[in-house]
Structures are given as structure tokens and as C-alpha cells.
């Protein structure tokens, strides 16, 4: 029995990857939840907004790399994030101008806006693939590991290794900073308050003289920032492929709904719940268990609940369970 080794194995294969993945999902879900709370529809184009913002960031990263600009041990992509945000913001504001504004003026029902956002999703998706192609793109550089598995073993003398990728550390730190800024913004600034007011009661916000177009514009800008940051972090941590981002839509939505659509706090909690479930259920627990039980009891199977191919089924199952037993989500968002 060796709890220390078991814990290290658990951290290495479950905790750390899930925390990084959870942060990425949380940032994505925050964007979805803000749009739902303020513009009142589920934005299916969010995954592809992430893909587009990331694409712009990648193009700038390559340009910086070709000019020899770098951040040393940190990935150059961090420098390109502001440009990615600007690109995504331009695209979102343009879309709002030519598409969503029309439906807002019509006071279209949310379900119509959802379908509209699906159309927008296909356009974004095509746009990204036309510019960058459908293939995997590599843009990560800088130091790959904060702590390597070998170093860790040498340092501690443990049997199990623990590797922390620098992208995982960057993801967590960035996510904490972004979330703190967002909550500060929503709670204390006048703009944030008018956004919350608009989300609470649109009619009354208008009667208080709040300009709806301005609230909508600010929302899109914030969403552009959240989507691009989430997208770049995910791309750095795993890999960038436009279609992967489209698939990311499901866990992102699951996170937002599990936490309660329209509730920023819920989006964060939801992101981590989905991430931990996905990683935990497709992980082969044999290694961790082997350290915990006497040798004779060592399991023969892999102790993997589901094969990795079924990763997305996990989000679905959690989604269904939450919708059945608590339709407004864990943090009581707006009714779906």
C-alpha cells in the first residue's frame, strides 16, 4: 500500500488535466452564459467563435515567431491573444450588426435566435477552415514542462512521476485572472451593473434609460475576449483543429446548463464538474488502485469505466441528470 504514490498518480492523470480542462470549459461556459443572460438565447456559434479567435491568434503567433519575437519560456501565443480578441470582437460585432440586430428589432423568440446562431456557426466554421484549413495546427512554443515526470521522480524518489505541462499552469493562472477581472467588472463597475440590470429585467432597464445597444455591444466584446482566451488555452494545452472546437460546444453547453444558464458562478462550477467527470470516467484506475490495495488484490482489468471514445457521452449523461432533477441548474440560473 502506498498512498503517496497513488495520490501522485491520481494528480498526474486526473487532477491536473481535469483542472486545466475545467478552466478552459469554465471560460467557454462563461461566454455562453453571458449571452444567454443578456441576449437571451443559446449561442450555438460559440464553439466556432472560439475557433475563429484562436485562428487569428495563431496567425499572429506565426508572424511573431517569424519575426523572432518571443516571450522566452512562455508561449508566444500569449502575446497574440489581444489580437485574437480584437479579431473575434470584430467578427461578433459585424455579425450582430448584420444578423442579430435584425432579429432583436423583430423581438424574435429565443428559439428563432438559436436556429439563427446555428447558421452563424456554419459560416464561422467555414470561414475558419477556408483561412487555416481543416488540419491540426501547431503553434505552441516555449518551455514544454514546468515539472517533468523524470525530474519529479528524481526529486522525490517516488515510483510515480508527476508532470505539469507549462500550458496547464498557464491555463489555470490565466483563468483565475480572467474570472477575477470579470467578476470585479460585473459587480463593481457601472457597465457591469447595467449589464446585470439588463439581464434581470430588460423592460425596466430600458425605462431607466440604459441604452440596450451599448449593453449588447459590451457583452459581445466580453464574449469575444472569453472565447478567444478559452480557445487559445485549449489549443496550447491540446491541439488546434477547427472541428475540435465545434465538438467542444457540447461540454461547454453542458457546463453552462449544469451550473445554471445565466449564472456566471454556475458556469465555472459546471466547467469543473464536467471536466472532472469526463476525465475521471474515462481514466483507467488500475494504476491508482494498485498502489492502494495489497498486491494479492491487484485488479486484473484496467478499471476504466468507459473508453475514451465515449468522452462526450459523459457530458450528455450529466446534462440529462441535471435537467431531470434540477432544470434551472445547480446555481439556479434562469429557467431553460
Amino acid at each position: 500500500m502506498d498512498f503517496l504514490n497513488a495520490f501522485v498518480a491520481l494528480s498526474n492523470f486526473v487532477l491536473i488535466p481535469a483542472i486545466a480542462y475545467g478552466s478552459q470549459l469554465a471560460l467557454g461556459a462563461l461566454g455562453v452564459t453571458l449571452i444567454y443572460g443578456i441576449l437571451r438565447f443559446s449561442n450555438f456559434a460559440h464553439g466556432d467563435t472560439m475557433a475563429f479567435g484562436t485562428m487569428v491568434a495563431i496567425l499572429f503567433t506565426w508572424w511573431f515567431q517569424s519575426m523572432g519575437i518571443s516571450l522566452g519560456p512562455l508561449p508566444t501565443a500569449l502575446l497574440a491573444i489581444p489580437f485574437g480578441i480584437a479579431g473575434a470582437a470584430a467578427l461578433l460585432l459585424l455579425t450582430d450588426r448584420v444578423v442579430y440586430r435584425f432579429y432583436r428589432a423583430q423581438k424574435a423568440k429565443p428559439v428563432i435566435l438559436v436556429i439563427v446562431s446555428m447558421g452563424v456557426m456554419f459560416i464561422y466554421n467555414g470561414l475558419t477552415r477556408v483561412v487555416l484549413g481543416p488540419d491540426d495546427q501547431r503553434f505552441a512554443d516555449g518551455e514544454r514542462f514546468l515539472i517533468g515526470a523524470l525530474d519529479f521522480r528524481r526529486m522525490t524518489g517516488l515510483e510515480e512521476g508527476l508532470a505539469i505541462k507549462s500550458t496547464q499552469a498557464i491555463t489555470l493562472v490565466t483563468a483565475i485572472i480572467v474570472v477575477a477581472l470579470l467578476f470585479w467588472f460585473l459587480t463593481y463597475t457601472r457597465t457591469g451593473k447595467s449589464m446585470r440590470a439588463y439581464s434581470d429585467n430588460e423592460d425596466l432597464a430600458l425605462l431607466s434609460g440604459i441604452n440596450p445597444e451599448r449593453v449588447v455591444m459590451v457583452t459581445w466584446l466580453i464574449v469575444a475576449a472569453l472565447a478567444t482566451i478559452a480557445g487559445v488555452l485549449y489549443g496550447l494545452d491540446k491541439s488546434y483543429k477547427p472541428f475540435t472546437y465545434f465538438q467542444l460546444l457540447l461540454p461547454v453547453f453542458a457546463s453552462a446548463i449544469v451550473g445554471g444558464l445565466g449564472s456566471p458562478l454556475g458556469a465555472i462550477a459546471g466547467g469543473f464538474i464536467i471536466a472532472f467527470s469526463e476525465v475521471g470516467i474515462v481514466y483507467a484506475w488500475k494504476r491508482v488502485v494498485a498502489h492502494m490495495v495489497p498486491e494479492a488484490w491487484e485488479p486484473e482489468g484496467l478499471l476504466q469505466l468507459l473508453s475514451t471514445d465515449y468522452k462526450f457521452a459523459v457530458s450528455f449523461v450529466i446534462l440529462v441528470i441535471v435537467l431531470l432533477f434540477r432544470p434551472t441548474g445547480l446555481f439556479r440560473g434562469k429557467a431553460v
Partner: protein, 262 residues
């Protein structure tokens, strides 16, 4: 007396149903005009059209001689036209104080840029607003509720909060939609006093939908009666009470027929 609001031949149809069917009326500057009529007379729809919540099917609305037909509510707000709702609206997740401080919109902290940069000026603005919000809550005798979430207030207190919202700025015309409905007597007196004081001290013009005739009689002159989407009569409360057409609209023709028969 000058006219502040003029409604000209206003129509608003919902499919085949003519909620407002050619209403024409004027509201005098500085008056407290009552708007009464049986349920379904089109009073609230008229409010909704005038206050920009619904576009009219046809007809015009003027404020100080300027055409304001179809302007959105937040622009009307900046023209000085405010309204309250029949079922009180509030920002439930914010405190009463914050609710009031949301008014007026378009403060300088509301641009993305200023939110991060111009902190000093915004802080100053917010301090002034905070002071004003506390004064308003004091005026409405609910200062003990200032840190309470507005969603937890009683129906009557929400109505007070709605009235409070109109006091955060210098409004010109305020449309009150059944501000007294579902409010107990004491609170109703508070609301009535507040309306009177605002009218006298700050020159607010009020137009209020109300069913409580005592309340109307105490505050309103003139009173406009609507029925079936049209303006039926206008005059002082006594004139209205003795108007045959009005009695007919409220009580039907049966009663009168019986009277003439006997």
C-alpha cells in the same frame, strides 16, 4: 395651460382585436390626469404605446409638440418621459439602493473604456447618486429597506420603489399604471402624498391609471374615461361620476333601463 402630451387618433391592434381604437387625448402640463375605464378598455395598451414599449398600428404621439411616436423607452427616458408598471418591475438580484442607482442610464461609467480608466469621476458620480437614492428612500419612508434585495420586497413596497425610480431624475411626465393596486391604505396614503409633493414641488406631470375612485378623487383633475379603446369622456371627478355614458360603460345598460321603467 399648455399641453405636454398629445395623442392623436391612436390605434393599436392585436390581430383582429382593436385594443386601442382611435384614442385622442391631451395631457396638460403640470396636471395629475387620471385615466379610468372598465377592464379591457385599452388603458395599459395606450400607456405601452405612448411609453414606447409597443409600436402603434397607426396614429401619432407628441410631447411638447415634438413627434415621439415609436421612440424606444430608453430614448423617451432621456426626454423626461417615465412610466411604472401595473405589476411592479424591479431588478430582483440588486438591493433597493442599487435599484435606484441604476437610474439614470448612460452614466459616464457605462462605456467599456471609462469603466477601467475614469475611476475618479465615476466614483464622484456614484457618491452623488448614492446620496440621492438614500434621500428618495427616506422620502418614501422605506430607508430601513435600502440594503434589502428588491426581489424580497412585498408587492406594495415594490410599487414604492417604482415611484422612487421616477424621483431619481427630473422627469417631465410620469405614467403610473395602477400604482395603488394591491397596496394597503397606509401605504396608499404615502404614495398619494409622494405624488402630490412631486407634482407641486418638482412640477412633475402625472398620468395615472387607477381603479380606486377615492384615490382618483383625492389626486386627479381632470379624469379621462376610456372604453373599448376610445376616449369616452373627460372632466372633473364629479362630472365623470354623473356622466350617463360612463355609468353605462361601467355598469351596462341594464340598470338604467330598469330605472326608466320604474
Amino acid at each position: 395651460m399648455t399641453t405636454v402630451i398629445r395623442v392623436e387618433d391612436l390605434h393599436r391592434h392585436f390581430g383582429g382585436f382593436h385594443a386601442v381604437d382611435g384614442a385622442t387625448l391631451e395631457i396638460a402640463d403640470g396636471s395629475i390626469t387620471g385615466l379610468v375605464g372598465p377592464n379591457g378598455a385599452g388603458k395599459t395598451t395606450l400607456f405601452n404605446v405612448v411609453a414606447g414599449a409597443l409600436p402603434p398600428t397607426s396614429g401619432r404621439v407628441f410631447m411638447d409638440g415634438e413627434d415621439i411616436t415609436g421612440l424606444p423607452p430608453h430614448e423617451l427616458f432621456h426626454e423626461g418621459l417615465l412610466r411604472t408598471f401595473q405589476i411592479a418591475h424591479e431588478f430582483p438580484s440588486m438591493t433597493c439602493r442599487e435599484n435606484l442607482m441604476m437610474v439614470p442610464g448612460s452614466q459616464s461609467g457605462e462605456t467599456l473604456w471609462n469603466a477601467w480608466i475614469g475611476r475618479g469621476r465615476i466614483a464622484q458620480e456614484e457618491r452623488a447618486l448614492l446620496k440621492k437614492a438614500d434621500e428618495v428612500l427616506d422620502f418614501l419612508t422605506v430607508s430601513h429597506l435600502k440594503d434589502e434585495k428588491a426581489g424580497n420586497l412585498s408587492g406594495g413596497q415594490k410599487k414604492l420603489l417604482e415611484l422612487g425610480r421616477t424621483m431619481m431624475v427630473d422627469a417631465k411626465v410620469v405614467f403610473l399604471d395602477e400604482v395603488g393596486a394591491g397596496v394597503n391604505r397606509t401605504l396608499l396614503n404615502t404614495i398619494g402624498d409622494a405624488i402630490k409633493r412631486l407634482n407641486e414641488e418638482r412640477g412633475y406631470t402625472f398620468c395615472m391609471i387607477e381603479h380606486d375612485m377615492d384615490f382618483i378623487g383625492r389626486l386627479c383633475d381632470p379624469v379621462i374615461v376610456m372604453a373599448e379603446g376610445k376616449v369616452l369622456a373627460e372632466g372633473s371627478i364629479d362630472q365623470i361620476k354623473s356622466n350617463d355614458a360612463v355609468i353605462e360603460a361601467y355598469l351596462g345598460t341594464g340598470l338604467k333601463n330598469k330605472e326608466t321603467a320604474s
